[in-house]
Amino acid sequence: MILKLAIRNLLQKPLTTLLSWVLLTVSVGIISMLLLLQGQFEKQFTGNIKDVDMVIGAKGSPLQLILSAIYHIDAPTGNIKYAEAEKWMQHPYVEKAIPLAYGDSYKGYSIVGTTKDYLDKYSAKILTGSLYESDFEVVAGYSLAKKLHLQTGSQFYSTHGTDGHGEEHKDKAYTVTGILQPAGTVVDNLFIGNIESVWKIHEHHHHDDNDGEAVNASNAGSHGENDDHHGKELTAVLLKFRTPVGSVQLPRIINSQTNMMAAVPAIEMNRLFSLTGIGIDTLQYVGWGIMALSALSIFISLFNSLKERKYELALMRTMGAKRVDLLMLLVLESVVLCIAGFIAGILLSRLAIWALSASFESSYHFEIQPWTLNIPGGVQLLVLTLLLGMLAASVPAIKAWFINISKTLTHE
């Protein structure tokens, strides 16, 4: 009955209630959206880093190298010679090295030439069809296959570059031999085949291009030389060290003594997070600010209505209501509002993320699950919202506790 009365009292002043509710909804929405984004963002990014201690690629921006070699959301930094990279791939400190040749795409999705180790690293399993066996055969990640409606046996021409507007390599078509199971990693949005395919596609390109595509003998002097590995180029190599000493020593040596670049994913991603973190933190402060504002709004509306409702409360006391009933009534009014704001805020954040997820997917191949039940920090946020509600109600509730019935009834 008190709950019903609390709800009725809230509805009695629809505009004031609406204001407080909207403020709460927006603040909870912003905060929970950020928590969810940040959580999934970091989970996806750190999940893909797993077992990659270092990346070797052409000189350029180390962050760009990481973003392109591991996440395939940036252009490659350039090419490196297979022969030169091989020295480091067989270094005693290195446990496993996975060579990558990429730079071509189909409809914006990267085609990566690599070894089977790459699939093992991400524990990618075949869902339908079979693994690629010969040149110009690829397996497709689950998400991209779904989006591009690809099936086993589908064929396509690759495009030069990653933006989808490059020149098509018309002479050779790739064939999809299998679709991978959904893995929640970068593999979901990649075509994966052998390195030789990428090399062969570019065999007839006799122009110098240094924009990151693994080309056969891009060095002018070596044009037309034979097709052994030593003339070939790679875009990047992912390395896992046997010993932590490797990650201390090797990057320094490679960066200073070769014309290749070594980047450590953990360091670069930390740098990225701390950069984007500023934006996220600022937004979060805005969220908290709005939440404080909504608490103030609840407080003011309760406090103001208390003046008008003093007689009503005294009247309830004459009908047998205990002090604690009135206290409960006021606290409930605030808490009910807060719960309504919390629920609406969570829904709002999910809707916002759902609306954003399409653009995230197309521009970053970054998938977010808006409908996950696991809300990072959700419990803390709920507790905080409730505490805020009780705090806002506390002063009015205490005033209601000490209402002098006789005085209130005589001087209305």
């Binding site: 009365l5 009503e312 009247l315 006391r317 047998g320 209501a321 205990k322 009834l409």
Partner: protein
């Protein structure tokens, strides 16, 4: 039913009241009159247990309510005393029916809408049950507050100037209604008023001087 002895109440050393002993039996109506400032409302609040007397006793049935502490006083009042105020006040956000259900619930009784509707029927306002109280006329509002005072079958009904804001016609109606319901529900009724019209209707009266 109601019996007070040597009641004394002081707001401050300068403002204090000594009240004559009053007595009111079940089914009877007692009128307490007096000019403003003579402590009529103070006496009513004392009888309701809203104020605690500095001295003296107030027996309702076998209970001396002057000796009840806060929580038990609230509970006793809810169960045994119904109050009709001069101007009718209700919980704004609830309609007529819900206001009466609230009164039942606050007194610790079960919410019983059949009983409430029967009561509204008796007072001729059953057709207003779904309306917000602010939309009723003064006379209708006064009927609802009488219904609210009666709904828990209290042993004592206290009425504070129940007719002073009503015209002659409604004044007589409300007075008759109170009288009828007192007899019907076997309760004692104490009316505090300066309304001279009521003196012609009720025999027992005490004047505060």
């Amino acid at each position: 039913m109601l019996q007070t002895r040597e009641l004394h109440f002081a707001y401050s050393p300068a403002v204090s009241f000594d009240f004559p002993d009053i007595y009111c039996n079940t089914g009877e109506v007692l009128l307490i009159t007096g000019a403003s400032g003579k402590g009529k409302t103070t006496l009513l609040h004392l009888l309701a247990g809203i104020l605690t007397p500095s001295r003296g006793s107030i027996a309702i049935g076998d209970t001396d309510i002057a000796k009840l502490n806060g929580k038990r006083s609230d509970a006793f009042r809810g169960k045994n005393i119904g109050i009709v105020f001069q101007r009718s006040h209700f919980v704004q956000s609830l309609n007529v029916l819900e206001n009466l259900l609230l009164a039942q619930w606050l007194s610790g009784n079960k919410r019983d809408s059949i009983k409430v509707m029967t009561m509204l029927e008796q007072l001729n306002i059953a057709n207003q049950a779904g309306k917000k109280t602010a939309r009723l006329s003064q006379g209708q509002q006064q009927r609802v507050s009488i219904a609210r005072a009666l709904i828990n079958k209290p042993r004592l009904i206290l009425a504070d100037e129940p007719t002073s804001s009503l015209d002659d016609e409604h004044c007589i109606q409300v007075a008759r209604l109170l009288q009828e319901q007192t007899a019907l529900n076997k309760t004692a009724l104490v009316i505090v008023t300066h309304d001279q019209r009521l003196k012609n209707i009720f025999q027992h009266s005490i004047q505060l001087v």
